[in-house]
């Protein structure tokens, strides 16, 4: 996956913690929400693997921007930036949460 700045994306609406022990670095409040890639930050070993002593997959890490009102209905018109690994990102254009 190679996403340039400005690419519209959606964070997967996945809840792996419901299926058993996991280590997840994707905050719950962005799952299923749409945002915009700001930039590629680099490639890093997956902390979800490291936490369980598995051989880590390399993940591309992206800074993704969201409008705060898209995350919290009572928020002001500011923005939020968060680091998201590529396996949590899907193409935008699907039904918005």
């Amino acid at each position: 996956m190679n996403l340039g700045p400005g690419t519209a994306v959606r964070i997967k609406d996945a809840w792996p913690e419901a299926d058993g022990p996991v280590h997840v670095r994707t905050p719950h409040y962005v799952r299923g929400r749409s945002g915009t890639v700001v930039r590629h930050l680099g490639d890093f070993p997956d902390p979800g693997d490291i936490a369980f002593e598995r051989k880590p997959a390399m993940r591309s890490l992206y800074h993704v921007a969201f409008r705060l009102p898209d995350l919290f209905p009572d928020a002001t018109g500011d923005e939020l930036l968060v680091e998201i690994y590529d396996h949590w990102i899907e193409a935008a254009g699907r039904a918005q949460a």
């Binding site: 409040y29 930050l41 902390p47 705060l68 002001t76 018109g77 500011d78 923005e79 939020l80 690994y85």
Partner: protein, 194 residues
């Protein structure tokens, strides 16, 4: 020894003596590394900010690659997560939070303040940043966008605040004295008279 239940002091002693016995680390190296860890404090970050305010080339390098720029300025970064620097401008004000735990750029800011780790700060900053900043006495004008940066993964983030008005001609040392940890997290802004 059961490593899951061992008392932490005993565990540390066992680990360091094994590393030493096997020649993987010397006592001098260990002492030097502990001194580096203990020297980390917001004063390092304040020095970096003051240099960025007074040296445009350094500011540019700092924003492009925080890790390389602070290493150039004498901060030991080997083995630490990469550092990203977020610039406050007349259009955007950055504020950093770690909602998942307490990720913090320790090399430049030292240990995180207690409130940074509190559930209240972590939960409220993403949802109501203007409300949180107001409690710090920080009013960001309506036409300035607040950018909340949730530090969730491999990077650590530090804010480069705006240089306060009334500091024209000040030395980098005098400027560094104005900069607090809260300014580099983004909940406050440095002022010429504290």
């Amino acid at each position: 020894m059961n490593v899951r239940e061992a008392e932490s002091g005993r565990l540390l002693a066992a680990l360091t003596s094994l590393l030493s016995e096997r020649g993987l680390i010397s006592d001098d190296e260990l002492a030097a590394r502990m001194a580096i860890t203990e020297s980390a404090s917001p004063k390092q970050g304040a020095r970096i900010v003051a240099r960025a305010w007074t040296d445009p080339g350094f500011r540019e390098r700092l924003l492009a690659d925080g890790t390389a720029a602070v290493e150039e300025a004498g901060v030991f970064m080997r083995g630490l997560p990469p550092l990203g620097v977020l610039e406050n401008t007349s259009e955007v004000h950055n504020v950093v939070v770690c909602t998942l735990c307490s990720c913090y750029p320790r090399a430049v800011l030292g240990y995180p303040p207690f409130w940074f780790k509190s559930p209240g700060y972590r939960a409220r900053t993403v949802r109501d940043p203007r409300g949180v900043l107001a409690e710090w006495g920080t009013a960001i004008p309506e036409d300035v966008r607040i950018r909340v940066v949730d530090s969730t993964a491999d990077y650590r983030w530090m804010v480069l605040p705006m240089r306060p008005a009334g500091t024209e001609g000040w030395s980098a040392e005098a400027l560094a004295d104005l900069v607090r940890d809260s300014d580099m997290i983004g909940v406050t802004q440095p002022k010429a008279s504290l």
